[in-house]
């Protein structure tokens, strides 16, 4: 029974972490272009300005 005392909180914390990660991804616009994202993963970007990090920030700002 004592195992429950830490197992249950651990399960909940892990679940909440997953939820937080999902909400973060949603807010930073990562679900806005699911088709494009699958292509970007296999592209070698030589244009630094088009790096996803720089622009996802832009998208997030535009969304607000």
């Amino acid at each position: 029974m004592t195992a429950l005392a830490w197992l249950i909180p651990a399960a909940l914390v892990l679940g909440l972490l997953g939820l937080a990660a999902f909400l973060w991804a949603l807010n930073s616009g990562q679900f806005e272009d699911l088709e494009g994202a699958s292509w970007r993963a296999i592209q070698d970007s030589d244009a630094p300005d088009a790096s996803p990090a720089a622009d996802s920030d832009d998208t997030a700002r535009n969304a607000k």
């Binding site: 249950i8 970007r40 832009d58």
Partner: protein, 747 residues
């Protein structure tokens, strides 16, 4: 983030806050461009590279799903027009996206997704606890551990339901306030009762704890809602892209006579606009300078150009053919055709608002039935002497088990599958209840020009004309943008003739072309211009060509049907649909098109109010019409029909009014839409049957008091999965247009 960009942005932010001298500070702006032929990852990076290579562009980010690219640019160095031109140089169709519509729908979809995430998290954790409890029933879990698990479930489920269930609660409250019943009423009641009773049972240490069922129900229904909404957002984005690509830019002449290009939607009344030959007129207005011919097929279905002079009114969307004109933009005048159409549309749309969706009709029968069963269970157990607490518990169990998870998913799941299938075929379904209404139609009313036909004239029987004459005529015709001249050039090209370039060709507005050659004068134009006797009564659809004093050669034109018009009309008629042609064009042209397409019933010279009148007659005789049209004169009829379709080439107002838009040169999508819509209705009904079958099984159990939380959870998931699985079949099933049933068929 890239370091250089960061510092750059922060500088901009500082400068924007301080009003600095504008010629030093780069004023960064954001623009969204539609790129409709961006189809793969390669195109995506090509689009981004092309934009970054253009001067003044700071960053560019393409969105492949939306077929749009967002760019930040320096407004002092460049403007959106240049960016679109840069993309066009790289081989993409680009246009600035309109920001007129609010994006509440997109925000709603991401709001649903957020609630879905929360509900999913809670459902997983509550399920974890519930499975332990169910396992504990079989082994030796003691009451205190069970109570702990129940309390934990309550702690997770109640806040999650309070947050994630809001869309249902709000919708149910709205329906009740309006004294209606929709599917959200039994859903909300089920969720709230399940949570309330579970909390009560938890406090008393009982077994009837349904937190898992309540949160899972919320989760499943949110998935359905979200998919439905995201399909709609996507369709809407695609529809806006179509309109955005058609949006025009205008050459404005300022007070200093210097021309400037601006987007047409930025035009205001009183502005003077220059329209070059061959350009679409961007605005309603009056001609100030010049004379030309205007092609108005989008306005009135007439393929023949109209001769206009100074003082004539012209409409936005029509094409200026022969000579450049200057137009002063006018405000919408109460007496114009456009104003009349706007009035008719408003009236027609008010009539349509009465349609009640299939799911809501089901809810109107279902909700009272379920509540009656609950009441019966309560009174039954009271009479049997079970005590009010047991009776109430069983009654609530009935309400929980009948809570229409499968029933509420039955229609949305099918809608998502059907809309997705049509989207892949180039049909954009815009209205949420469009498929249901399309499935009910039994009469197809077609417009002629641009709908049944391609909308541009074709040379009839070019092979019967001497090749040398055709080639010569084509070499003169190449100088004109008149639709007939273009048809001659196309026909000559199709026959492998190459027109040689001819100098000294003049175009006389309203008459024809003349070329001075050493061998004499060559003329191409109307009978009077060429000097031929028009023994043919239908001389308007004919051009004549004469070289020197030789006998003139006639060229006859007709608006060609879409390539599969005849077979589509045939298939529709075989399936029992009545097909009608309703056109604003001249009787001769309509009769010819009707005969060629195999349509028996046609009406010509019909004005917009006449089209509405005809549709009213159809509905008065107990039939339901699917209106297919593309012209401005069809717009009120599109709003008045039981359902409506519009080709992608249609005027804006039609695309907005139509329930669905189809793309491509062929008419086949109309058939496909009918097929899918009717299959969707059939599968929605199947899904209702599955859901009711499950209820027929579970309700007696619940009324008898045998339902446990475990049975409730299993039944709910199984029925939801069955219904969704059935709906998914629609994505790949082969469909044939089934004949209308005899009750629907015309006598």
């Amino acid at each position: 983030m890239d370091k250089a960009l960061t510092s750059n942005l922060s500088i901009v932010a500082e400068r924007e806050s301080v009003p600095a001298p504008s010629h030093v500070a780069p004023s960064l702006k954001t623009v969204t461009l539609i790129v409709d032929n961006m189809r793969c990852g390669g195109c995506m990076s090509a689009v981004e590279k092309a934009l970054l290579a253009a001067p003044g562009v700071q960053s560019a980010r393409a969105n492949l799903s939306a077929k749009r690219v967002t760019a930040r640019y320096d407004a002092d160095a460049t403007e959106p027009e240049n960016l679109a031109a840069a993309l066009e140089g790289a081989g993409f169709n680009a246009a600035e996206a309109m920001h007129t519509r609010d994006n509440t729908q997109a925000r709603e979809a991401s709001d649903l997704l957020r609630r879905m995430g929360v509900a999913g998290f809670a459902a997983a954790n509550v399920m974890l606890l519930s499975v332990s409890v169910w396992a504990g029933l079989a082994s030796d879990m003691d009451a205190s551990a069970q109570a702990l698990f129940h309390w934990l479930s309550a702690l997770i489920a109640l806040p999650a339901i309070a947050y994630a269930g809001q869309p249902f609660f709000r919708s149910a409250a709205g329906a009740i306030r309006a004294a209606r019943l929709n599917m959200d009423v039994p859903i909300s009641l089920g969720i709230i009762l399940a949570s309330g009773m579970s909390l009560f049972q938890t406090m008393r240490g009982g077994d009837q704890v349904y937190f898992d069922a309540a949160i899972m129900l919320t989760f499943f229904l949110l998935i359905g809602r979200y998919l439905d909404e995201s399909v709609r957002v996507r369709a809407r984005g695609a529809a806006e892209n179509l309109l955005g690509l058609k949006a025009l830019s205008a050459t404005v002449i300022g007070a200093d006579r210097r021309p400037r290009r601006i987007p047409a939607r930025a035009l205001s009344p009183g502005v003077r606009v220059l329209v070059a030959a061959g350009e679409r007129i961007p605005v309603d207005g009056r001609i100030e300078n010049g004379a030309s011919e205007i092609e108005e097929s989008l306005i009135n279905g007439e393929t023949l150009p109209r001769l206009v002079q100074v003082g004539a009114d012209v409409h936005a969307g029509t094409v200026n053919i022969t000579a450049p004109i200057e137009v002063t933009a006018t405000a919408i005048d109460e007496h114009t055709l456009i104003a009349e159409i706007a009035r008719l549309m408003q009236a027609a749309e008010q009539d349509r608002g009465r349609y009640v969706r299939l799911a809501d009709r089901a809810a109107q029968v279902y909700a009272p039935a379920v509540h009656l069963l609950g009441a019966l269970t309560f009174t039954g157990w009271m009479i049997a002497g079970a005590g009010w607490e047991t009776a109430l518990t069983y009654a609530i169990a009935v309400l929980i088990i009948t809570c229409p998870c499968a029933l509420a998913l039955a229609v949305p799941a099918v809608q998502v599958a059907a809309t997705g299938r049509l989207f892949a075929k180039g049909v954009i379904v815009k209205a949420p209840d469009a498929l249901e209404r399309i499935a009910e139609t039994d009469t197809v009313v077609l417009d002629k020009t641009g709908t049944l036909t391609i909308g541009e004239p074709q040379l009839i029987a070019p092979e019967k004309i001497c090749a040398a004459i055709l080639a010569q005529a084509a070499s003169i015709a190449a100088h004109s943008r008149h639709p007939y001249a273009k048809a001659i050039v196309r026909a000559a090209g199709a026959m492998g003739l190459t027109p040689r370039w001819q100098d000294a060709v003049r175009e006389v507005t309203g008459a024809g072309l003349v070329a001075e050659t050493p061998q004499g004068e060559e003329r191409l134009g109307s009978a009077a211009w060429v000097g031929a006797d028009a023994e043919d009564g239908d001389q308007t659809a004919t051009l004549w060509y004469r070289k020197g004093e030789a006998v003139p050669t006639p060229f006859h034109f007709a608006d060609a049907l879409r390539s599969d018009a005849r077979s589509v009309v045939g298939d529709l008629q075989n399936a029992g649909y009545v097909v009608e042609l309703l056109s604003g064009d001249r009787p001769r042209a309509v009769a010819r098109a009707a005969a060629a397409a195999g349509v028996q019933e046609w009406r010509a010279g019909v004005r917009p109010d006449g089209k509405i009148g005809r549709l009213k007659d159809v509905s008065a005789s107990g039939h339901k019409a699917l209106m297919v049209g593309d012209g401005l004169n069809d717009a009120p009829a599109l709003a008045a029909g039981h359902a409506s379709l519009s080709p992608a080439g249609a005027v804006d107002i039609c695309q907005t009014a139509a329930d669905a838009i189809f793309q491509g040169e062929r008419l086949l999508p109309v058939l496909e839409t009918l097929k899918v819509a009717r299959a969707a209705r059939q599968m929605s009904l199947q899904n209702f049957a599955i859901a009711l079958g499950y209820n027929a099984l579970c309700v007696p159990l619940a009324m008898a008091g045998y339902v446990t939380p475990l049975i409730a959870a299993l039944a709910m998931s199984a029925s939801s999965i069955a219904v969704t699985g059935n709906a998914l079949r629609l994505r790949t099933r082969r469909l044939a247009l089934q004949p209308l049933r005899s009750t629907e068929r015309h006598a």
